[in-house]
Symmetry: C2
Subunit: 361 residues, 2 copies
């Protein structure tokens, strides 16, 4: 049977690591002592296998566990359950990677559009630009005006702040048509087909209705929060809407799971066309190495799975653009939010400056 190679970073002492590795293999498969198991199929095929244990020094070990692919039922939520369900509750172990059997690419499908599709939507070639509509609490007309001012600066993507959902002060059904219309008007002026990305929220029924509303108003790209929606819902929406692109927001993703794996690889497999993550040197404590690894996971060659464009964010500002382009290259979408919004009534010009800095002269 095909196996997923799940890779955990485990803190342990040398005497305990072998037993601890076996403990993870059991926890993430049959979750019971193997002694009483009499069924040879279960013992040989279903029980997780310790494939490798590598000493990383300083009391850290890299543990590779072979998990039977069939235990996932080939379903997104159950995949997460088998990768890290109970082990997420144990503070000595972090899931840092998983190598999936080749057929997972077809089964889960990855991004609908991927990096090339996101570039094509806005007729861009190099790095992409993005910002967020804020603050929540603003009524639809104010957000629409703000979006229009930003779009007039020629930006590629404008997303709802991930905190903007379906609140009384800005109901989804009123906000989305208003902002969509405002952005479309601006795009007609600039010639740059700026996209507005509403933030999906609520349960699967609600998100389906939201996508239908988006489609009705000419939108084709949305913001999703897979860890809040549940990975199954995210994956379902992606499959049901092959014409849509999905930008993944990391909200609620603070599991003891390596961000590079969760946001760069797992979100990509399930269908994120773009993956937002907190860049190093911002408000969040990710290291440059972890960010580089995330970008690599999102972009590296993966048969039948489109590249997902990395979106470093989280307190970025215009003066960091050269450094970020130097660090990530051109296969990137730069997302600058609060710092752009600080320009207030000069926001169109500031947006234009942002776009020029990314696209070059």
């Amino acid at each position: 049977m095909n196996r997923i190679q799940a890779v955990y970073r485990v803190h342990s002492d040398a005497n305990s690591i072998a037993a601890r590795a076996r403990g993870i293999a059991v926890e993430q498969s049959v979750e019971m002592p193997t002694g009483p198991i009499g069924d040879a199929y279960v013992l040989d095929e279903i029980v997780g296998r310790v494939e490798d244990v590598k000493d990383l020094g300083s009391g850290a070990y890299e543990v590779r566990i072979g998990l039977a692919a069939d235990t996932t039922g080939f379903e997104a939520g159950q995949l997460a359950n088998m990768l890290f369900g109970n082990t997420s509750l144990q503070s000595d172990a972090e899931l840092v990677d998983a190598v999936f059997p080749a057929e997972f690419a077809q089964i889960f499908g990855g991004p609908n559009q991927g990096m090339a599709g996101l570039r094509a939507r806005v007729k861009a070639k190099g790095a992409l630009t993005a910002t967020a509509l804020k603050p929540q609490g603003s009524p639809p007309a104010v957000l629409a005006k703000l979006a229009q001012d930003i779009a007039l600066g020629g930006i590629d993507y404008i997303k709802d702040d991930h905190g903007i959902a379906d609140q009384s002060y800005s109901p989804f059904a009123e906000r989305v048509p208003a902002v969509a219309e405002a952005v479309a008007k601006a795009a007609a002026q600039t010639g740059i087909p700026t996209r507005y990305l509403p933030s999906l929220n609520g349960n699967l029924d609600a998100m389906r209705k939201q996508i239908a509303l988006c489609r009705k108003h000419g939108l084709d790209t949305v913001l999703a929060t897979p860890m809040l929606a549940g990975l199954s819902q995210f994956h379902t929406l992606k499959k049901e809407n092959p014409d849509f692109a999905f930008v993944a927001h990391p909200s609620f993703g603070g599991l003891a799971m390596a961000p590079s794996f969760l946001f760069g690889k797992l979100f990509r497999l399930l269908g994120a066309d773009a993956a937002i993550f907190p860049n190093h040197g911002g408000r969040f404590g990710y290291t440059p190495e972890e960010c580089r690894r995330l970008a690599r996971f999102a972009l590296e060659d993966w048969p039948c799975v489109k590249p997902c464009i990395p979106v470093p964010a989280g307190g970025m500002s215009l003066d960091r653009i050269p450094e970020m382009l130097d660090f990530f290259g051109r296969d990137v979408m730069l997302l600058i939010g609060g710092s752009l919004l600080s320009a207030k009534d000069k926001i169109t010009g500031e947006t234009a400056r942002f776009c020029a800095a990314v696209r070059g002269p």
Copy 2:
């Protein structure tokens, strides 16, 4: 406007804590610098407020933030987003509690049945007993036989192992009727109305179908994994099925969120009738204090919200029963899985011993 009091435990130095507290208040509300915000409503009502900062010693602080209730849209996923969405990505902060406005009890509703309902289902008065069907990989007939043998021992609740989903070797639609019938037969013999809890999995559509199948086969209690399903889905299913009881499994819940808050309070608010958690002294590193706090959150008086019964689990064994009953009292469901299954063909007797130890002579 009513505010949620969200309580974070933050590691910081004395010079930075005031700014860090303001940072969390902004991160969990408008997520942008407040300087450019001109709207008085947003500034006064929507921006999070630092209500209190308490020095806990050793570089730890308790930070209380008032979050506007309206920002949640009164929806489960968005509630989690506002409580801990982005802050979950920051390693210095843990969400340890939240005090909700009184109207949240009506809006979210809490457990359908609660502790009293779970006792009534099995005609029990004191502590409840539970176990898990394992290992995954076993076909429906084997699991049905195992469930029957256990039910003959007179146990209250038998749940699917949380790893048992809808896999080829044990499809939900075959397993659930087979196990339900076997348990019903045994219950007719013992006179104890033992309940079988199938594990819900997949997206919202799939889980709805699974509940319908459960109802068709006379079941009224299920196992859910809210962190995998997405809190919105869990809450939706609870509301749609007021005759059902929902036992919450903590899988994938390893956020930097205090387990007592997540499993004891938030799961309860959204509708968990029983909340499974890893007890201290098992395979997981929770402290006795954290477990006690979780039980308190699950049980404490909460107007309009039924008590949720705490279910300490995770590597428990029969010899710990007296100690667990001493620690948790009788408002508890004891869940013993792998250790019970080790009895193999003596499982009915071992189950009877478990039940007797819990119920007394």
